[in-house]
Symmetry: C2
Subunit: 642 residues, 2 copies
């Protein structure tokens, strides 16, 4: 096995076979990315067709338990969909709506009667559905949705109603054209009492595709990207559905018209329900990562062949990836893509263990949700940044639609704000950290104990789920912060990331503690601390990502492949520290001299990895059919890379 | 006059009247941005129509001297085109190709015979033209173009030829559909000798629009944006044109078939020719700035009205621009837009003085070119970054085409790599700085003198063209680097920016000096220093931008408007330092404590400017017709801002 192959198997992870099957099996004609020059209707039709083709695969069925008619192979399911992110992102998203969101709502919020009635149609495409959560007035603040689902005892029905334009369901995928049914999130009112947001299955179109009585469907029309996805608007005017259409796993109305829930606290119930939908967020991160790898593959290969300007001796033209500035654009981002992919793999494994019933605890679920939120935020942000830089790295050629960056950019752009706005998600991560911190801290009520115990508490809070004992060993064996090689030793690097997270969390908790004091302006204190809070979440996720990288390398045998991966990991670490080095110096973690040495280290690592650039993108193993361009139309005078 | 009006007049600058005329005069039907959902052909036709309408204005004629049939109002011309950047960017670019690039080549590289023969048709639209410089094989490296223009004494003609695919003229605006003639850049060969790149006018289509013999025209087809611009490819197969079609201001072939040039050195001649085309680069920066202001206007107003999540007391929903995180996304970028606009105004004035003959020296021209390159790089980079953030700040609504961000992003994206790739431009800036530094340093050959004199030399090299004496006074009066208010005092801030530039330049010069040493690997030394070199250029341009801001405020009377502008300037300064604060600490310019205080200062300035956010975007005075969206379809429960 060559070096690229060896690295590919590490990146492919536990579901390598699934990835290999998708690479070889999906028909390029149907799944290769079309140019967005197709007329909108044709693009939508083509996308629907591809989604229907997917019903011939096991992708979606693998994501259901046996009781739901599936195979309980959740990780395989998510991995297969992730691979679609290399191909056509409209198909990726529309399939995500059908199988992940609509299907996921039925599977996770419904009970056996819903599984039996609707999952077969969801799987074979005979029942196309939407996931109607977001409203015009409330996107991120799902708890404040305005749509109501009122139980009508007289007819044993539930009445869905949109009170005003702010209640209009908006940007709903599959709604403008194809969906026959929608999983509608609404305030459930029983006997005059509001039990909070629940999900109800509402038919929206008849078999001819016409809106049903009381349902008004709008078309969001042209979007920046994802043109193959028919996003629409849904408004309900006192639409009645049978009581049994309530997805009633976490809240039900009994035959006597009384509301029951296994979770007493309405807020806890709400967050439990949302939490079961975490897979959508994980999938978006996966698709964003895949699209980013496509862009990097194109730009790196272009940079290896394109020449521009002569060497000082005038003898030959320089390949642009030989320029340090160009290396600095692409290689640290390539390293970060490796890191995020390995973290994503670990996240999918974690999700799989819980979904398959191999692991089950509230803590594990809570941690999964936080990591999914954080990795989704960082991966989609990385996608936007990196695809942009890759486009620019290909100059005018990068601007032509035929070379893919136009669609890659436009399609992934919305990933940073859908399935959870990234800023809101990072807040969620930080709030979770604060809750744990508070839980672990029993003596919070006396100031003295607070200061005394802070560090021990964070020690307990910092969890090392991925490769826990390995990481512990590395950190313990590190030369310590003042050692000369603190920055180059893996344990020292881990310690640096972890120490930063702890410090940020401790000081954040201290700041926010004031909000509880007598007469304090809670909003003002929280608001002033918001940048600090967001930084804490980032530091946490960077640490989790690094741990995943270290754990993945640990499984590799010694040799060239491992050596290269160690350098890629170094580049991820050093470029991450470089971007935040001001913080490390401000807080006495790095001296000014060490801080400068980080810049030099990034340069050196870029130069050292330059000869392996082709190997690194080969390891992504993206089928040629999914990355056809005319970027290689003219290779430059230097010809193919040596 | 209200506050917004007062600030508008400062931002509008010397050509305020021109801006006001454009705001009120351009027909919204023709110039309002169309959605990119128009079929490609219709979009191109609409764009051509708008460009033809512009022939009814003075925009282009103002950019020519009286001898060329113009009015010598160069600044007014560039300012009017800049305003088009608020409207339809395809029109902006296509007009730029016709009047700026094609017309500019004739005006600046041609002589009276070309002006008389072609400028009237260029102005009235009867002669549509292209600017055929870029080739598939060589974009940034214009000096290495492959197309040849060979003098044929037998018939007194010039033969244009494309030797191979790398020589194909590519991405040429106006070429795919409309141009009848192209200004073709090619290696001029006379009597077997290559005199370097010159420009020749070559007819490419007959009156029916069919390609002429020997001319092959391709269509670049779909692009990421600028769909109204018909970019194409031109290949020449031994195409002959009369000798007099050579634009011969800087190099001519006499009646005896001999080559003459007023500039002996071929490289100097080449750069002089390119230098005269600086206006295109200035215009791109102007258009990028305008588009950015449109995006900021939309996102800020949305943030002022859109509510999401409740206050802790649960009483009302929070306007999203009240969140510190949201303020930090938009307000520092708003401040930077102010800074860059004022720097752009100063740049246009400088260009105008030289073009109108009010000022003329090689130094002034060289400085203009460097500033144009630097401000173009920073302004277009700012556009890409800011429009993206504005899109995200509007969530799902920002993704809908009707809300403009899709086209604003896609249209401006290429600005960072056309009219000079930003990285190449920043290198150009730094190289200019190094040349000056070397020129000023006479004792460069002895190591001792080098160290001794370095600081004095940079003092001489740092030029303060904008508001020179004012800046000098402020810097001299500053409390000094160690004073408590070094960071808040304007003179102290200027000193900080200037000191950084000096240090970067001195150390860069020292690094590169080694390249000249015996046996040194020149490319390796240059390449290792490339990030340092790019940083030096950035530091220089940031200083120039700050000086322009300070000079613009200096003209304002005391009062609320000035007070607000001072705070906007502070925010520009503090957020710029914040992003680079690691450098300041690493080099002993800021203590760790001061560095932290910069973060707090940005937070405080954001909070302080939040109440003036509406005023600040009102000061951009972008006509409503050019920024129509449905973002205000639902304002949120809070209703209009107080």
């Amino acid at each position: 096995m060559g070096t690229a192959e060896e690295i590919r198997t590490v990146l492919d992870g536990r579901w390598e076979e699934v990835r290999q099957e998708v690479r070889s099996r999906l028909d390029p004609e149907t799944f290769a990315p079309p140019l967005s020059t197709l007329p909108l209707d044709e693009h939508r039709q083509r996308t629907l067709q591809a989604v229907l083709e997917l019903t011939q695969t096991d992708f979606a069925r693998n994501g259901l338990t046996e009781e739901q008619g599936g195979t309980n192979e959740h990780g395989a399911s998510v991995t297969a969909f992730e691979m679609l992110g290399h191909a056509d992102l409209s198909v990726f998203v529309k399939a995500g709506v059908q199988f992940g969101l609509f299907g996921g709502a039925i599977a996770n919020l419904g009970t056996k009667r819903h599984w039996d009635a609707y999952l077969p149609g969801m799987l074979d495409g005979s029942l196309l559905g939407s996931f109607a959560m977001t409203e015009l007035g409330h996107g991120s603040d799902v708890q404040s949705l305005l749509t109501t689902a009122t139980y009508v005892p007289e007819t044993d029905e539930i009445e869905i109603h949109s009170p005003g334009i702010a209640a209009r369901k908006d940007y709903i995928g599959n709604a403008a054209r194809d969906a026959r049914m929608a999983a509608v999130f609404a305030q459930l009112v029983v006997d005059g009492e509001n039990h909070g947001v629940h999900c109800v299955l509402v038919p929206i179109r008849d078999e001819h595709g016409n809106p049903l009585d009381g349902v008004t469907i709008g078309d969001c029309g042209a979007k920046m990207g994802l043109r193959g996805v028919d996003n629409g608007e849904l408004t309900f005017d006192h639409v009645r559905v049978p009581r049994l259409n309530l997805l009633n796993r976490y809240g039900t109305i009994d035959d006597d018209g009384r509301y029951h829930s296994p979770i007493e606290n309405p807020s806890r119930r709400f967050f439990t329900m949302l939490g079961t939908l975490v897979r959508g967020r994980i999938s978006v991160a996966g698709g964003a990562g895949a699209a980013t790898r496509t862009a990097l593959t194109l730009a790196v290969i272009y940079g290896l062949h394109r020449t521009q300007f002569h060497t000082p001796d005038g003898e030959s033209e320089v390949r642009i990836l030989d320029y340090r500035g160009h290396q600095r654009k692409l290689l640290p981002r390539l390293a970060r893509s490796f890191a995020l992919m390995l973290a994503q793999n670990a996240l999918v494994e974690q999700m799989h263990r819980i979904a398959a019933g191999e692991e089950s605890s509230e803590d594990a679920q809570r941690e999964l949700e936080a990591r999914a939120a954080g990795i989704k935020a960082l991966t989609t942000e990385h996608a936007t940044d990196t695809i942009q830089v890759c486009r620019e790295a290909c100059g005018g050629a990068g601007y032509m639609s035929v070379n893919r960056f136009a669609d890659l950019k436009a399609d992934t752009d919305v990933f940073s704000t859908f399935e959870g706005d990234n800023t809101v998600l990072l807040q969620l991560v930080a709030k979770g950290m604060l809750t744990e911190y508070k839980d672990a801290f029993h003596e919070l009520d006396t100031r003295g104990a607070f200061f005394f115990g802070a560090r021990q508490v964070t020690e307990a809070v910092i969890e090392r789920t991925i490769g826990g004992s390995l990481i512990q060993r590395l950190v313990s064996g590190s030369p310590g912060r003042d050692g000369d090689d603190a920055l180059t030793d893996r344990g020292g690097q881990l310690d640096l990331f972890e120490d930063r997270e702890k410090h940020l969390l401790e000081t954040l908790a201290m700041r926010l503690r004031r909000a509880g004091e007598e007469g304090a302006d809670g909003f003002a204190i929280f608001n002033d601390a918001q940048p600090h809070l967001l930084l804490t979440a980032r530091a946490h996720i960077e640490r989790v990502v690094l741990e995943a990288f270290v754990a993945a390398i640990d499984g590799m045998p010694d040799g060239e492949s491992r050596e290269i991966m160690e350098r890629v990991c170094d580049l991820y670490v050093m470029s991450t520290i470089e971007a935040e080095r001001a913080w490390f110096v401000e807080h006495g973690r790095l001296s000014a001299q060490q801080s400068k040495s980080v810049i030099v280290a990034v340069d050196t690592l870029c130069a050292g990895l330059r000869p392996h650039a082709q190997t690194l993108v080969d390891a992504f193993a993206i089928p040629l059919a999914w990355r056809e361009t005319n970027l290689m139309e003219f290779l430059g005078e230097a010809g193919p890379d040596a």
